[in-house]
């Protein structure tokens, strides 16, 4: 089982060859967006942050931006800064350059305003694009792929069939030497004992319990019941009654192999084996965090139907809800609903998902990519000043 992609200077393997336009701060979004409009083969990650941030919160935003640039699906990066923000463009450039990929930095105040920055940025983007499009396509084995497993807009079918089917595919990727990353800490609440039990040692299990405890303490601090936020109104309409029920249905998407470790939001994913990234369940923040961690592809199950994509990582949408598969076929890549009618086994559905992963990891566009879904969002952990 081979996949096709791009070998980077540092040896990492990408399944896409994106030029990334990276604003260091919200104030640089408009310049970046104007450049992106005229360089359609580039992807942009406009965001709301980069200023009035301190401490761990500032570091997490920095880590996410750097991680997006370092992701092997990215061939080159154009950084656009304003000039007076908290994010340090020099440091971002230096850290992304550790991968050996071309990185150019342009500063709006330095260039002399939006119009000049757009003009200059266009030139630089086209130069970078011409450069990275020389990268040859090569083959490798599934052992070099890291797949994020995610669920969003869940309903009862998620726990019954689409998540367990994805789990079968996850096990096959792990058996081939690949990497699986599960995340969404609030969505293992009530099922954390089952995840922790898979830890390779006591420390890994402890980290799972500690991550869950932080979310429950936050609920206590706010004095709220998390139901209504998670499970969401759509989850509840789809039949899910509590976070425990949702979580117990969620965790099967990561297969059955031992949990090798837990790492923080947007931190680099280790290679080989099953890992947990401590992150909110929020679809966009979570997928963005996984992309910044370095996974190349996300498999995303949904029962309600969600369009979520990502600027640099293909997101494969899988549903076990036959009505959603028909009604939202624009957004769904793999329909595993025949499982519920006994017309397909979990193994057969898992195989179907694995085939889709191999095809997408070899260049086939997902529905989210075709539609241009490029949602990006950074998880904040502190206040704005």
């Amino acid at each position: 089982m081979k996949i096709k992609g791009y070998r980077r200077a540092n040896g990492a393997f990408g399944i896409r060859n994106h030029l990334l336009l990276l604003p260091t701060v919200v104030c640089a979004n408009q310049v970046v967006n104007r450049i992106a409009q005229q360089v359609p083969r580039a992807v942009a990650i406009p965001h709301q942050h980069g200023c009035s941030q301190v401490g761990a919160d500032k570091e997490q935003t920095h880590k996410t931006l750097v991680g997006m640039g370092k992701n092997p699906n990215v061939g080159g990066v154009l950084i656009v800064s304003l000039g007076c923000e908290v994010m340090d463009p020099r440091r971002i450039k230096r850290e992304i350059e550790e991968t050996g990929k071309p990185v150019i930095w342009m500063d709006i105040q330095d260039v002399g305003g939006s119009v000049k920055a757009i003009t200059k940025g266009l030139e630089l983007a086209r130069k970078l694009l011409a450069d990275i499009e020389q990268t040859p396509i090569t083959e490798t084995s599934l052992s070099e792929i890291a797949v994020g497993v995610k669920c969003g807009g869940s309903d009862a079918t998620s726990g019954l069939c689409s998540n367990p089917a994805l789990g079968r595919a996850a096990d096959q990727i792990l058996e081939a030497g690949g990497t699986i990353v599960m995340s969404e800490t609030p969505e293992i609440i009530g099922a954390e004992h089952l995840v922790a039990a898979r830890g390779v040692n006591a420390e890994v299990s402890r980290q799972i319990y500690a991550a869950v405890e932080r979310y429950e303490q936050e609920m206590a601090r706010m004095g709220v019941d998390m139901r209504g936020g998670n499970p969401s109104p759509g989850n509840i309409e789809g039949g899910l009654s509590s976070i425990e029920e949702k979580s117990l249905g969620c965790i099967s998407k990561a297969g059955t192999k031992p949990l090798q470790g837990v790492f923080g939001y947007a931190e680099p994913v280790p290679q080989g084996g099953f890992y947990f990234m401590d992150s909110p369940g929020n679809d966009i923040e979570c997928v963005s965090g996984m992309a910044a961690a370095g996974i190349q592809l996300v498999c995303f199950t949904t029962g309600r139907g969600t369009p979520t994509g990502n600027p640099i990582v293909p997101v494969v949408k899988i549903t076990g809800n036959e009505f959603v598969a028909k009604k939202m076929e624009d957004n769904i890549d793999v329909d595993v609903s025949p499982i519920l009618k006994g017309k397909e086994t979990l193994d057969q559905a898992g195989h179907k998902i694995l085939q889709e992963i191999i095809e997408v990891a070899s260049g086939k566009l997902t529905k989210a990519e075709i539609l241009g879904h490029q949602e990006f969002s950074i998880n904040r952990i502190g206040i704005s000043l």
Binding site: G167, G223, S242, E244, K341, G342
Partner: protein
């Protein structure tokens, strides 16, 4: 945590022998007699009210304060007495976790 294959004819799924609810894979109407597969044995449930696809039905009576089990694990607690055949959802099931309102 997952069944390998589902029964082609079953209108509802019971995930684990410990479970006291099933999940509907088609909508049901009040008065219907549902025959569901519980660990290979047919089990009859009289449906108490119209209930949509994907929602849960009690397969035996559950007392207020008792745990509600799905996947063989607790998904919360009955907030009132629930009869077999009744719709089980946010109106009669209280989540136990993430309850900052009770802290």
């Amino acid at each position: 945590m997952a069944l390998e294959t589902f029964d082609r004819e079953s209108p509802a799924i019971v995930m684990h022998e410990k479970d006291n609810v099933c999940t509907l894979i088609r909508p049901v109407q009040a008065g219907e007699e549902l025959i569901i597969d519980v660990q290979g044995q047919p089990h009859t449930v009289l449906i108490r009210q119209d209930t949509p696809f994907g929602h849960k039905i009690a397969i035996r009576s559950i007392q207020a304060g008792e745990h509600i089990y799905k996947y063989g694990e607790s998904i919360g607690m009955a907030s009132v007495d629930i009869q077999a055949g009744e719709h089980v959802h946010v109106h009669n099931l209280e989540g136990i976790r993430g309850r900052g309102d009770r802290a």
